[in-house]
Amino acid sequence: MLVLTRKPGESLRIGDDVRITVVEIDGSNIKIGIDAPRSVAIYREEVYQKIKEENQAAVAKTEVDINSLTQLFGKKGPPR
């Protein structure tokens, strides 16, 4: 991993069209500003990780018999 030191107000660029700016430092919280093209989606890492882990869990469970679920759920949705 490339590690760079920046002060508040300073930026760095990734390629030609992504700019990351350290906006403010307050104790252990660091505010980061990101300028990127609209085509680039930006997520917090832990959100992405959680989705990834849940996808893997979902795939691992597809061998579970689904008939009991469909019976309980019904054709039009679950009992309320």
Binding site: R38, S39, V40, A41, I42, Y43, R44, V47, Y48, K50, I51, K52, E53, E54, N55, Q56, A57, A58, V59, K61, T62, V64, D65, I66, N67, S68, L69, T70, Q71, L72, F73, K75, K76, G77, P78, P79, R80
Partner: protein, 146 residues
């Protein structure tokens, strides 16, 4: 017309026109880009999303509005642009089910809905950064009658 040549996956016949393309895969399965959406009447209203690239991989999905009519995920525009949504009616929304041997404990991932442009056969897993929706939400209340 090789495009219309019939192929089979787990006994399901399909042609290349049926393939839903996930340009970036889904998180955890980034290399899998071609999927088949299949509906087995016995499993209704659940549908299967089969990977064509790795037939061992499949996701069980369901329309979240069936049990959460107020589900209104706010997606970043770029996520909708990625599957080139221009008309609302082309957008199909699903959530992935994580099965549990006890069906009441089966959960759905409301924070990572699968969005598919059915007209262009383009799909993607949207990632929501929204505290209202969790990755493990029950579909049924614990006290709902059998």
């Amino acid at each position: 017309m090789s495009e219309l040549q019939k192929k089979t996956l787990h006994g399901i016949e399909y042609t290349d026109q049926d393939i839903v393309r996930f340009e970036n895969g889904v998180p955890g399965f980034e290399g899998l880009k071609n999927f088949l959406l299949t509906m087995n009447p016995e499993h209704e209203p659940f549908v299967w999303l089969y990977s064509i690239d790795n037939p061992q991989i499949r996701f069980l999905m369901v329309n979240p509005l069936l049990f959460r009519p107020d589900y209104a995920p706010q997606m970043q525009k770029e996520q909708l642009n990625e599957i080139r949504i221009e008309r609302k009616e082309d957008l199909f929304l699903f959530v992935i089910v994580t099965l549990n041997p006890n069906p009441r404990l089966s959960t759905v991932n409301m924070a990572g809905p699968i969005i598919i442009n059915m007209a262009l056969k383009l799909g993607k897993q949207a990632i929501l950064d929204d505290a209202r929706y969790s990755i493990r939400e029950r579909m049924m209340g614990e006290d709902s009658a059998c």
